[in-house]
Every structure is written in structure tokens, then in C-alpha cells.
């Protein structure tokens, strides 16, 4: 009886040693990989052209960093077990698998289960809160803005853009920097997907239906790409367009060069103040 108790104590001590070892490996690897993620993921992400895109990139970094210890927790335990507890006897030494001894009896401890539930619940609550904050920023927080509306029409296999208040239709998308924009998206034939990754815009283009995207604000001058992200036929890969984010003066010149002559008007309060500011440049010029 004493020998059995001593053996149980020695076995329990070995188990705790293995668990401690695994946890240390997991902790060290988690720190290393999280640091790598924080450095590498922002480098992989394309430069953000709007606050919406920046929030999406930040979400990638944060969620990847959160996922690292969760994934490593599974992999470290699994690979440690595969390596340390593998059967070291030579092949053929065991003729019948039923002769192999059973592993030690393991019972779940309530505190471990509570800890597991608490950690996963906290992670889930954090992701929900994060997403709701982002959704609020893109919708409710901008409910009173008066953005420049751009109609986007997808058809096999190109995009066309209309600026209804400016009287312009074009195959290229030109936007003024620093001014809020909202896209209304539709398709003339099959289902397409309107996506400007660097501006944080993605919306299905459904035939016969107009769908509005959240309001976005391009904040970085440059040239971006519209891509179709819904398989739509042979030339789906070539279904793209340029997006140019330009200074307001350049945008006004482009509008005039494309036959635009409408004035932007209206404000949230209905006071007649031009939507573009400062200086109502577009209204005065056009």
C-alpha cells in the first residue's frame, strides 16, 4: 500500500513537472510570436487610405495577436505529447495493441474548467465589443454627415461610376481627399463584389438592387484599386478600376473636364450650407 502511494506521488510529481514545462514553453513561444505578429502583420497590410481601412488593419493585428496564444496552447500540448510521450520501443516489440498499458487516470478539476470558460468568454466578449465599436464608428457616428454620393454599377466585366449630384459618369473613380464619400452599389447583370481594400470598402453588387456602403473618408492621396471579389465569369480577374484620391482642386477640374455642372447643396440642418468644407470650394467652383 505504501509502495502504491509512493508511486502515485512520484507519478503526480512527474505530471506536474511536464505541465509546468509545457506552460513555460507555451508562454515563451507566445511572447515571441506575438512580438513577431506585431511587427510583421502591419508590414504585410497595405497602407490604409481611410480611418475605416485603418481600423480594419488594426483589427487584423489585434485579433491575430489574440489568436496566437490560443493556437499555441493547443499546438504546444499536442506536439509536446507526440514527442515526449511517444512509444520508444522498437517496431514489432508489441504484438498486440491490447497489451499496451492504459495511461494514468485523469480527472477534470473544477477550477480548470472555470478558468477555461472564463478565458474563452472574455475573449468572445472582447471580440464582440470590438466589432460593435467599429460598427458604431462606421454607421451611427456618421448618421448626420452629408457625404459625396457615388453610384457604382458593376457589369461583366468592368465598373462604371456616376456622381448624380455632379452630373458625371466615368469608368474611373476619382475622390477628393478629406471628404466623406458613400457608395451606392448595384449590378446590371450577375452578382459582383465591389471592394476597395485600402479604403475599407466592400459590398456586394446585387442585380436590380441599390445597396449603400458605410460612409468612408479618404485621408491619403494616392491611387488604389477597385476589385471584384465575387466570381462573376471568365474575365472576373480583370474586373477592376483605378481609384484616384486627389486634392479638392484637382477633383473640381476633373468634374468640369467630364462635363459636370451640378452644385452640391444641403446640410444636416437644412440650412443650405454646402456639404464640402472649408470654403465651399466645390460649390463655388462648379
Amino acid at each position: 500500500m505504501a509502495d502504491e502511494n509512493n508511486e502515485a506521488l512520484r507519478s503526480d510529481g512527474r505530471n506536474r513537472w511536464h505541465v509546468s514545462r509545457v506552460l513555460w514553453i507555451w508562454a515563451i513561444l507566445s511572447v515571441i510570436v506575438i512580438v513577431i505578429v506585431l511587427i510583421v502583420v502591419p508590414l504585410i497590410e497595405r497602407a490604409s487610405g481611410s480611418p475605416s481601412a485603418h481600423f480594419a488593419s488594426l483589427t487584423d493585428v489585434v485579433f491575430t495577436a489574440l489568436a496566437v496564444p490560443v493556437a499555441l496552447f493547443v499546438w504546444v500540448f499536442m506536439f509536446y505529447s507526440l514527442v515526449v510521450f511517444r512509444d520508444r520501443r522498437s517496431a514489432g516489440a508489441v504484438e498486440n495493441a491490447e497489451d499496451l498499458p492504459d495511461g494514468p487516470h485523469i480527472e477534470a478539476k473544477p477550477r480548470h474548467q472555470i478558468l477555461w470558460l472564463a478565458v474563452t468568454a472574455a475573449l468572445a466578449a472582447f471580440t464582440v465589443a470590438w466589432g460593435m465599436f467599429g460598427f458604431y464608428q462606421q454607421t451611427t457616428a456618421k448618421a448626420h454627415s452629408t457625404p459625396l454620393v457615388v453610384n457604382v454599377t458593376g457589369q461583366e466585366w468592368t465598373w462604371t461610376f456616376g456622381y448624380p449630384r455632379l452630373g458625371v459618369k466615368s469608368h474611373e473613380l476619382v475622390l477628393p481627399v478629406g471628404h466623406e464619400v458613400q457608395f451606392r452599389v448595384t449590378s446590371d447583370d450577375v452578382l459582383h463584389g465591389f471592394s476597395i481594400g485600402q479604403l475599407g470598402v466592400s459590398m456586394d453588387a446585387n442585380p436590380g438592387v441599390w445597396v449603400a456602403t458605410p460612409v468612408i473618408k479618404p485621408t491619403r492621396l494616392g491611387t488604389y484599386e477597385v476589385r471584384c471579389n465575387e466570381l462573376c465569369g471568365l474575365y472576373h480577374t480583370y474586373m477592376w478600376a483605378q481609384v484616384k484620391v486627389v486634392p479638392m482642386a484637382t477633383f473640381i477640374q476633373w468634374v468640369k473636364a467630364n462635363g459636370g455642372n451640378s452644385k452640391i447643396a444641403g446640410s444636416p440642418g437644412g440650412g443650405g450650407q454646402a456639404a464640402l468644407s472649408p470654403g465651399n470650394e466645390l460649390e463655388e467652383a462648379v
Binding site: A91, T153, Q155, E156, W157, T158, T160, K169, H171, E172, D188, D189, V190, P207, T223, E225, R227, G233, L234, Y235, T237, Y238, W240, Q242
Partner: protein, 235 residues
């Protein structure tokens, strides 16, 4: 020995998957490989390009771009070839003889001339900037593939349809057609590059032939290079 074989097999499998992945990436980036691609012929190279559009394929798709009809003689088509080669930094004059009747485009945007010199075309000698969007036989629309580094080029020319009641007094390859509309336009090329062009009038049925749905008029010849789409090589 068995462990060595297992490791070796895993390595070979990983290498094979990597090779397949790389080939797929290269293949999808290539402008070719989208279907039947006829060789360019004399009238589709140089500063002056001559094309024809037919309601069927009998006038070409034979040997060396000659008459024959090919595997789909009932498909609408551009002739003699959809592979066009033009010099860089040049003004290109395109003449299209249009023999087909008219239809509707889904998007009236394509009823307007875009990207040509002066945003104008000549239709039977008359300067025109747009046509009735419900009476367009085909369009000749050049697009730039996804490549911000190459000269961006967009040209759209709507080709008005011929009247179906007009007499068929033109015979080509043993088949009769109405007198064509002659459309002439110019566009300018920049640095060397590769482009694609399509017709945007949905007059093709099915996914890759008759009887299949889902492409809303952009199946068949509309989705096959060599008929209503092709390549433009600059340089």
C-alpha cells in the same frame, strides 16, 4: 526506414503543392490562357487596324484567319482575328465594318464614345459621340488589366446595328449580309503593355455554350476570346 519514407513523402507532397501554387499564380497573372486565341493577321497589326463584326462566324475562324466558321459557326464574332498588335506611343486608326443588327446594352454608359481622339467616332462618315443604347450591335471596349504600373487605357466605341429590313446585298464566304455600317475612330497608345478588349452588348447565351444559364447574356461568344473578346498588345 519507414520513418524516412514518411518524411520523404511529406516533403515531396509539400514541394508538389508549392509548385502547383506557383504555377497557378503565374497562370492567373498571364493575360493569355483564357480560351481560344487566334493568331494576329496582317489587318490586325500596325497603325491601321481593320476589323469586321458578323452575326455568325462563317467569314473567319478558318485557317490563317480565313473563312471556315470554326467549331461555332453560329456565334457572333469579330473577324479576322481578335489578337491585335499596335505600336507604342502612336495614334492608331481603327476601321470596323459592322454587319450585325442592333440590341440593347445593360448599361447606357457604353452607348457613349470614350477614350478615342476627341471622344468621337465616324459612322458612315458622320462624326458621332453616342448612339441609341437600344440599337447597338456590339461595342469595342479596351480595358487595362489590373496593373497600376502600365499605361492606363480605356476606349469604348459603340457600333450601331444595321437594319434587319435592309436588303442582304453583300456576299462573304458564301453567306449574305446587309450593307455594313463603317465605323472609324482613333486612339493613342502609350508605353508597351498588354490589354484586353470586349464587346459589352450581351448577345451570348449560356456559360460556355447553348442551354446553360447564369451569365445573363455574357456566355458563349461573349466569354470566349477569339469571338467577342481578345487581346491588344502595345509595343
Amino acid at each position: 526506414m519507414s520513418r524516412g519514407r514518411a518524411i520523404g513523402g511529406a516533403v515531396v507532397t509539400l514541394v508538389a503543392l508549392l509548385v502547383v501554387f506557383v504555377l497557378l499564380v503565374i497562370g492567373t497573372r498571364s493575360i493569355k490562357g483564357l480560351g481560344y486565341e487566334p493568331a494576329a493577321v496582317r489587318s490586325t497589326t500596325g497603325h491601321n487596324i481593320t476589323l469586321e463584326t458578323f452575326p455568325d462566324s462563317y467569314a473567319c475562324h478558318g485557317e490563317n484567319g480565313g473563312p471556315g466558321g470554326g467549331p461555332h459557326p453560329e456565334w457572333v464574332t469579330y473577324c479576322p482575328s481578335t489578337s491585335i498588335q499596335v505600336p507604342a506611343y502612336s495614334t492608331i486608326t481603327v476601321t470596323i465594318k459592322q454587319y450585325d443588327s442592333g440590341g440593347s446594352v445593360h448599361n447606357p454608359f457604353f452607348a457613349h464614345v470614350k477614350g478615342t481622339v476627341g471622344n468621337v467616332m465616324l459612322v458612315n462618315g458622320r462624326p458621332t459621340t453616342s448612339v441609341n443604347w437600344e440599337d447597338i450591335a456590339h461595342t469595342f471596349t479596351i480595358q487595362t488589366p489590373p496593373n497600376l504600373k502600365q499605361t492606363q487605357l480605356f476606349v469604348n466605341v459603340p457600333l450601331p446595328g444595321v437594319s434587319e429590313s435592309a436588303p442582304e446585298n453583300v456576299t462573304i464566304a458564301g453567306h449574305k449580309y446587309q450593307t455594313p455600317n463603317i465605323i472609324v475612330f482613333k486612339f493613342k497608345t502609350g508605353a508597351p503593355g498588354s490589354y484586353v478588349w470586349h464587346c459589352y452588348v450581351p448577345c451570348g447565351e449560356g456559360l460556355s455554350g447553348e442551354g446553360l444559364g447564369g451569365q445573363d447574356g455574357f456566355g458563349g461568344p461573349m466569354a470566349t476570346t477569339g469571338y467577342m473578346s481578345g487581346t491588344l498588345t502595345v509595343g
